[in-house]
């Protein structure tokens, strides 16, 4: 089956990822993450001084600013800010930097669907680049259920999103382990999936929701692997620079 963007042949295929870290020289950390033609840039400043009103005595305050591709931020961006902040807050070891602030700015660069998932991935790369201590890393993927074929399509483009019956974005951390119970070993469903963040809209059945979660969970493993490689490459490069 060929997808609408013509570069992919399978419904469960992600678009090619791309990432680069340390792009902005005035921020403490920055990263860009692309899913095909969707691109998000993220910068991290901190731990730095925080407004007195937002100061927390025992931990760092996270501030997330989401900027849209064009125009001024609307309520959609505010909702995304809340989603990103509340997902990251428990991940960041904020107790190590009490009474400071960590500012995260998320800017959409190119929009071709799955922006929230792209933003999550860019944010985690930027936090890693800034050297903010984290409990675990996360990976995000979006999928849709097509309104005509009822097929689950991973990492949809804008065009595919327009045909969606329901849209699902999932975030998984790299701690959630695969536990296969012995009684249903032959089934693939033995994967126990633990969701960190999930957002689904549209009309869908319970089975569709859990199937989407399973498929996204498998796809996120590739994103986790990619993030790991990206960090590894960056550290190797830094090591070389120190020794040369």
């Amino acid at each position: 089956m060929s997808r609408l963007d013509r570069t992919r042949t399978s419904a469960h295929q992600l678009r090619p990822f791309f990432s680069s870290q340390n792009l902005l020289n005035r921020a403490d950390g920055s990263a860009q993450f692309d899913f095909g033609e969707s691109s998000v840039m993220c910068s991290v400043i901190g731990p730095a001084e925080v407004k007195l009103r937002d100061e927390k005595l025992d931990k760092a305050t996270l501030e997330v600013v989401v900027r849209p591709l064009v125009g001024l931020p609307g309520i959609k961006d505010k909702a995304r800010e809340q989603a990103i902040r509340e997902t990251l807050e428990p991940l960041v070891l904020s107790g190590l930097h009490p009474r400071t602030g960590i500012q995260i700015v998320v800017q959409t660069m190119k929009d071709d669907g799955s922006i929230l998932a792209t933003a999550f991935n860019a944010t985690i790369l930027a936090l890693l680049d800034a050297g903010i201590p984290l409990k675990s890393i996360l990976g995000a993927v979006t999928c849709i259920v097509d309104s005509e074929t009822n097929q689950i399509l991973l990492d949809p483009t804008t065009q595919e999103l327009a045909n969606a019956k329901s849209t699902h974005t999932f975030v998984f951390d790299n701690k959630s382990s695969i536990t296969s119970s012995p009684e249903n070993k032959d089934q693939e469903e033995a994967v126990e999936v633990a969701t960190l963040y999930s957002d689904s809209t549209g009309l869908f059945s319970e089975e569709e929701y859990f199937e989407c979660a399973q498929i996204c969970y498998k796809a996120v493993q590739a994103v986790h692997g990619f993030i790991r490689t990206a960090v590894q490459k960056k550290l190797e490069k830094e090591q070389q620079q120190i020794h040369s």
Binding site: I75, K76, K78, A79, E81, Q82, A83, E86, T87, E89, P90, S166, T167, F172, D173, K175, S176, E192, V193, A194, T195, L196, Y197, S198, D199, S200, T201, G202, L203, F204, S205, E206, Y209, F210, A213
Partner: protein
């Protein structure tokens, strides 16, 4: 005989260690307010509470009260959708309802709830916007759906969504006539079936919210404001009358296994059915 050097009254303990205080209850399977972990607070729905609005409702879930009014106005349609009206939901969390909220522009929470409700209404196709067309390309109805929270005690999403759906069901708009560029909306003292129309809602999504407490993943149905502040995350599930899902949101710290999510969906099915019964009988 050793006496404890330092003792608390329960209320002091609650203030000093709210989470630990709460844990003492949840390990016994109850909550400080006497509810079981899976129990929702008493809910009431009143229809048509604002006589000057086209449709209105008031929903009370425990200590949370939301009043919703729908006002219909005539507006010009968008160029790219000349036959579609507008549905503009808005949730207001003013300082009146809780000291948590400051005066000024809408808080992040208010905007996030408004956006979540907007998406449920739009993505699950509750109302065909073509029904709001008066004259294609010239005039359409715009429905301002304003939900105002008058008392905040947690779980604003469920209360606001229920109030908005009840108010939309309650809407009655006078039939307009379009003649040579002017729109006339028939007057008269009482709205009857001849001179007015009601909205044709495809489905009624209602939601159930659960808080996730502790790493043990204790699930608390219908969290109140204290439970919201000490919990690590929330799960909101919206369902229509056929049991079809209209939206699922899981946010916050603890990773939630699929079995927990499944339990929540089952519980949400029961709860939304119960809420639907309350809404229909009153």
């Amino acid at each position: 005989m050793a006496t404890p050097a330092f003792t608390f009254t329960p209320s002091t303990f609650q203030k000093l260690h709210p989470a630990e205080f709460f844990r003492r209850f949840t390990t016994e399977g109850v909550r400080p307010d006497g509810r079981l972990l899976d129990a929702f607070r008493p809910t009431t729905v009143h229809h048509g509470v604002i006589s000057t609005a086209n449709g209105s409702a008031m929903v009370r879930i425990g200590g949370t009260t939301v009043v919703c009014g729908v006002k219909a106005e005539v507006a010009e349609p968008k160029l790219d959708a000349p036959d579609q009206g507008y549905l503009v939901p808005n949730v207001e969390l003013s300082p009146m309802c809780s000291s948590k909220f400051r005066p000024g522009p809408p808080s992040e929470q208010a905007q996030a709830v408004s956006e979540a409700i907007n998406r449920v209404l739009k993505e699950s196709k509750v109302l065909d916007l073509k029904d709001l067309c008066i004259e294609e390309g010239k005039a359409v109805w715009v429905l301002y759906v304003d939900a105002v929270c008058v008392a905040y005690d947690g779980n604003i999403f469920d209360a606001a969504l229920a109030a908005i759906m009840a108010a939309l069901k309650n809407v009655r708009i006078r039939k307009p006539t379009y003649q040579e560029g002017t729109i006339k909306v028939s007057g008269g003292s009482t709205a009857t079936d001849e001179n007015s129309f009601t909205l044709n809602l495809a489905r009624t999504p209602l939601s159930a919210t659960f808080a996730i407490f502790d790493t043990t993943l204790t699930i608390l149905a219908d969290p109140n404001v204290t439970e919201e502040t000490i919990s690590d995350g929330q799960i909101s599930i919206a369902l229509d009358e056929t049991g079809q899902l209209c939206g699922v949101t899981k946010i916050g710290a603890s990773s939630c296994s699929q079995s927990v999510m499944r339990d929540c969906v089952q519980s949400a099915k029961k709860r939304t059915q119960q809420l639907r019964d309350i809404m229909n009988q009153q």
